[in-house]
């Protein structure tokens, strides 16, 4: 039994030393640079989450690896003087080890689940798509979302900005209901502002992944998938589709920009008036849109003149905004 304690103690000590070193090195050297950075509140929070998970994971990895390495080094049959292994009941089971292992893994796992849940709630969904009825949302979001469907919705610095992301094969467009519902191929956002992304699709399932913003929400046809974040830094960011959506999925990306609130307001009002003629022929702002009967990737807004090929008459006819 004395030997046994020595082996385990050695493995434990080596694991402990390596884990502490690895955790410290990771936390201070690597952690701050882990993607997606800290451009938004969700990016910052989720980076922290990732780092905490990794700091917990490293000792687990190191522990098992040290054990494997130790076994290979010490108990290889090729080594001289390796004692004959002992079979029998003591080698078959060890209640202490089993209880300890199960307890430790259970505690870690339950902690992680609790921690993840708290972070998800505190982070207002952590930038992930919460479906049409978000349960965790930032202050002012519900009010801004409700107002967005009315033509009188406006935005001012400090208020929640409502942006609609419309995905279709194979591009994203963005509508700004608080600026008359104009549509833009570019995603522009103001700094230090909470944004409510309302993600929908006109055809197949896409996924709106604004990488540096740490927002990811699937775009489903006839479904509004809401995700929140708060911008913290100026700069450019990348938007990619992260759900396979067909032929040009690999080319479905664009770039957006977080600018100062004043610059954003200028851009938005300028674009609103420049696009006024186009906006007038768009369907009224709604959370979802039904594509016309010419097919998912054909004409993408109902015009009421196409002949439905389906026996369902409403399909292809002009849709009321829901």
């Amino acid at each position: 039994m004395k030997n046994e304690t020595n082996h385990l103690r050695r493995i434990f000590v080596v694991t402990l030393v390596l884990s502490v070193a690895a955790d410290l090195l990771y936390w201070f050297l690597v952690g701050p640079h882990v993607p997606p950075g800290s451009m938004t509140s969700t990016a910052h929070d989720n980076q922290l989450d990732f780092n905490i998970l990794l700091v917990i994971a490293l000792p687990v990895l190191i522990g098992v690896w040290v054990f494997l390495g130790y076994s290979i080094a010490n108990w290889s049959a090729k080594r001289a003087n390796v004692p004959e292994p002992q079979g029998g009941a003591s080698a078959r089971t060890n209640m202490k080890a089993q209880v300890l292992w199960i307890t430790i893994t259970s505690v870690v796992v339950l902690f992680l689940a609790g921690f993840g849940t708290v972070e998800l709630m505190v982070g207002n969904g952590s930038g992930g798509g919460e479906g049409p009825n978000p349960v965790w949302e930032p202050a002012g979001a519900a009010k801004a979302e409700t107002a967005a469907l009315t033509s009188s919705a406006t935005w001012a610095p400090g208020k929640v900005l409502v942006v609609q992301v419309i995905a279709q094969q194979w591009k994203f467009t963005y509508r700004y209901p608080q600026f008359g519902g104009f549509e833009s191929p570019q995603l522009m956002l103001p700094d230090n502002t909470t944004v409510a992304f309302n993600v929908t699709s006109l055809d197949v399932i896409h996924s709106f992944w604004a990488y540096q913003l740490e927002v990811k929400a699937d775009a489903n046809p006839q479904e509004n998938n809401v995700a929140f974040t708060t911008t913290k830094q100026l700069g450019n960011f990348t938007v990619r589709c992260s759900e396979l959506c067909g032929l040009w999925h690999g080319a479905m990306y664009d770039y957006g920009k977080v600018q100062t609130q004043a610059n954003f307001a200028t851009w938005a009002t300028t674009t609103e008036s420049a696009n006024a003629a186009n906006t007038a022929v768009l369907p009224a702002f709604a959370w979802t849109y039904v594509p016309d009967a010419n097919g998912a990737a054909g004409g993408y807004y109902p015009d009421g003149t196409v002949t439905p090929y389906s026996s369902v008459e409403v399909y292809g006819a002009k849709q009321a905004a829901s």
Binding site: N3, H7, V34, P36, D45, N46, D49, L53, L61, V64, W65, F67, L68, S71, W75, A77, P85, G87, G88, R92, T93, Q98, W101, T105, S106, V109, L112, G116, T117, L120, S126, G128, G129, E130, P132, P134, V135, W136, V199, V204, I205, S207, W209, E214, K216, A217, D218, P221, E223, T238, R240, S242, E243, L244, G250, A251, V290, A296, Y309, Y315
Partner: protein, 655 residues
């Protein structure tokens, strides 16, 4: 199941006396090319396909939406369905049920001798096991070539080897074929071959269902590749609707392919579960069942219970595409979420269908090479059952960002993280068995150790994915891709290799070359990690899955991964060379029990007689009494059988 103590005078699987003349038998039972075999199956499949296509066109040609579209999915679906039926008729899988159906006394399948039995509908589980070995290797090499093509395309962010359509086809075929392969890679070859031997049975519970599961598995290969002439399918292996509904006729091959493979999975699972439950030898109590058999039983339960969902989901998709139903068409009252939920309700147990047999193999061979009993046997078995049960309650973690009911997410985060507790049992068992052992690093052991290394990374990264906030970063990117390659390839495939190197001497009577085996292992292990570890970083740096363009700053990482992947592909050529060399070119006769295992399967005669055991063994204890002086003998094998192993306790204490 007969458990008579005497050697049977009749073949137990078929009820016919051995060695009787073939004269006067129906032509389907004759040996040689006149009978039913692979050739007749192919001919019948082609005829069935042509007939089905004609029928589909005949039935549906009057509908304007078909006339105008230039595509006829109904004709495709019927062609493939009749093709598969033709295949089954041609190979003889339907002889027995059809005869029963029309009220005639069915002709019993005769045991076939010689190499031709591998190309026929054969009821011997050992033949089916070897057929499966070749079958899964066929799947694996095809899928592997497609993987090479993917990595070739990803060498450059902007220069393209393939067009976007071809690339998506390749990605989709790779994913689907590999998933199909992975469902059967251990259960099929090693499960069918060794479960009866390990539990002391003379056969599987339902030999016809077993042979059926193999031949329909091969039919699935044909069905899934029938997509290629139709331009493939663009959905990846997950087949998400509405892209599925929008896709061309190749999509039918995907949907029916999974349905066909699904039939095989259900049949195999049902048969194995029935075998393990009913055909254990006397004395083979649940606490003596080898741990590999436990893993296969848990897998069989998942196969039987999860696959029907996939089967139904696939048929809904076929109906959507052929007769214009709207299961997945949102505009008509269906839901794209329906497919996602049905698919992953199957898809997540599927993940454990791929993990559990690997755990089983590793836990089974560790004691042999450490000369120690399996540590915490009951914990290992409980872990497998726990994983199997929990796997039905985690599927929505695939949908965390999809817009599902948001307050379901903490629940699925919890269940997903809970599953790491029983998974962790396997590590406890492994480490407990290695502790103060005397480890022989033979090739199977190298692969088994690699499973622990790889699966640990795969498992730990799984916890990252299950955390909803972190999932926002990693969902749908290369991180998740790397994660599941670490679990499926790093876990399952390495375990399969361990099992193959370990058991091929028993299956074929020939040893695999050790030197080549070591080369195979080290190249596979090193280049597997060099291929997939960078993908974690690539994913964190923002590369989504299934893209052919990526950010320029990821070129070096992608190139590194690609070149490692080519070398990983090369390691499989070493394996193939070893297989050819050791089996055909320079075969070396295997000793009866080359690894000094105590397992029951090694104590049968060599080569294994068709009825496995001269007498049904009476099991005395479990097969893990290594290094134990005075341990009881494993089994009473009866007289004149076991020259394979000296199962006396004195030899055991020396090991």
């Amino acid at each position: 199941m007969t458990i008579s103590a005497e050697r049977p005078t009749k073949n137990v699987a078929t009820g016919t006396p051995p060695g009787s003349s073939h004269r006067g038998e129906p032509w389907t039972q004759r040996p040689g090319w006149l009978s039913q075999h692979l050739g007749t199956a192919i001919i019948a499949a082609v005829l069935g396909y042509v007939f089905g296509h004609w029928l589909g066109n005949y039935i549906t040609s009057g509908y304007p939406y078909i006339a105008n579209s230039g595509q006829n999915s109904a004709a495709n679906a019927l062609a493939l369905t009749f093709g598969v039926v033709g295949w089954l008729l041609g190979i003889g899988a339907l002889n027995y049920p059809l005869a029963k159906l029309v009220g005639r006394e069915p002709v019993h399948e005769k045991p076939v001798e010689g190499w031709t039995r591998y190309f026929r509908y054969t009821l011997d589980h050992k033949v089916v096991g070897l057929q499966y070995v070749v079958g899964v290797l066929l799947f694996m090499f095809t899928g592997g070539l497609l993987a090479m093509a993917i990595r070739t395309e990803l060498l450059s962010p902007t220069t393209h080897v393939f067009g976007p359509g071809t690339y998506i086809e390749i990605v989709s075929e790779h994913g689907t074929i590999m998933m199909m392969m992975a469902t059967s890679i251990i259960v099929g070859p090693l499960g069918n071959y060794f479960v009866p031997l390990m539990i002391g049975s003379r056969r599987m519970a339902f030999p016809r269902i077993e042979a059926f599961s193999f031949w329909i598995f091969i039919a699935g290969y044909g069905v899934i590749f029938s997509a290629l002439p139709y331009g493939g399918f663009p959905t990846g292996w997950t087949g998400y609707a509405p892209l599925q509904t929008q896709a061309g006729p190749g999509m039918i091959s995907y949907l029916l392919g999974f349905a066909v493979i699904g039939l095989g999975m259900m049949a195999a699972g049902f048969n194995i579960a029935a075998t393990v439950i009913n055909c254990r030898a006397p004395g083979m109590t649940w606490s003596r069942v080898p741990i590999f058999v436990w893993s296969i039983l848990a897998t069989a339960a998942l196969l039987t219970l999860a696959t029907p969902t996939l089967f139904a989901a696939g048929l809904f998709g076929v109906l959507d595409k052929t007769v214009q139903t709207a299961f997945y068409v949102t505009e008509h009252g269906g839901s794209s979420y329906l497919w996602e939920n049905l698919f992953w309700f199957f898809g997540h147990p599927e993940v454990y269908i791929m993990a559990l047999p690997g755990f089983g193999i590793v836990a089974e061979i560790l004691p042999v090479f450490t000369r120690k009993p399996l540590f915490a046997y009951k914990v290992a078995a409980a872990g497998m059952i726990g994983v199997a049960l929990l796997s039905f309650f985690v599927w929505q973690h695939h949908l965390f960002q999809s817009g599902i009911n948001p307050d379901m997410r903490p629940l699925f985060m919890l269940t997903t993280e809970l599953i790491s507790i029983p998974t962790g049992f396997i590590f406890l068992v492994g480490m407990g068995t290695l502790y103060r052992a005397k480890i022989r690093f033979e090739v199977p052991m190298l692969f088994a150790m690699a499973v622990f290394f790889n699966f640990l990374i795969g498992g730990v990264t799984g916890v990252f994915l299950s955390d909803v906030p972190v999932n926002v970063t990693v969902h749908g990117g290369f991180f998740v891709l790397s994660h599941f390659h670490y679990t499926i390839m790093g876990g399952l495939l390495f375990a399969f290799m361990a099992g193959l190197y370990y058991w091929l001497p028993k299956m074929t009577g020939r040893m695999m070359n050790k030197k080549l085996g070591q080369w195979h292992f080290w190249t596979m292990f090193v280049f597997f990690n060099l291929t997939f570890f960078p993908m974690f970083v690539i994913g964190l740096l923002g590369q989504p899955r299934r893209v052919f363009t990526y950010a320029r700053n990821l070129t070096i990482l992608n190139d590194f991964s690609s070149i490692s992947a080519f070398l990983l592909g090369f390691s499989f050529l070493i394996f193939f060379a070893n297989l050819m060399w050791s089996m055909y070119i320079k075969p070396v006769r295997a000793p009866a029990n080359p690894w000094d295992s105590l397992g029951l399967e090694w104590q049968t005669a060599n080569p294994i007689p068709e009825y496995n055991f001269e007498r049904i063994p009476v099991i005395m204890t479990d097969p893990y009494h290594y290094s134990e002086s005075g341990a009881p003998a494993l089994a009473d094998l009866g007289v004149g059988v076991s020259n394979a192993t000296d199962s006396s306790s004195s030899s055991r204490s020396k090991k």
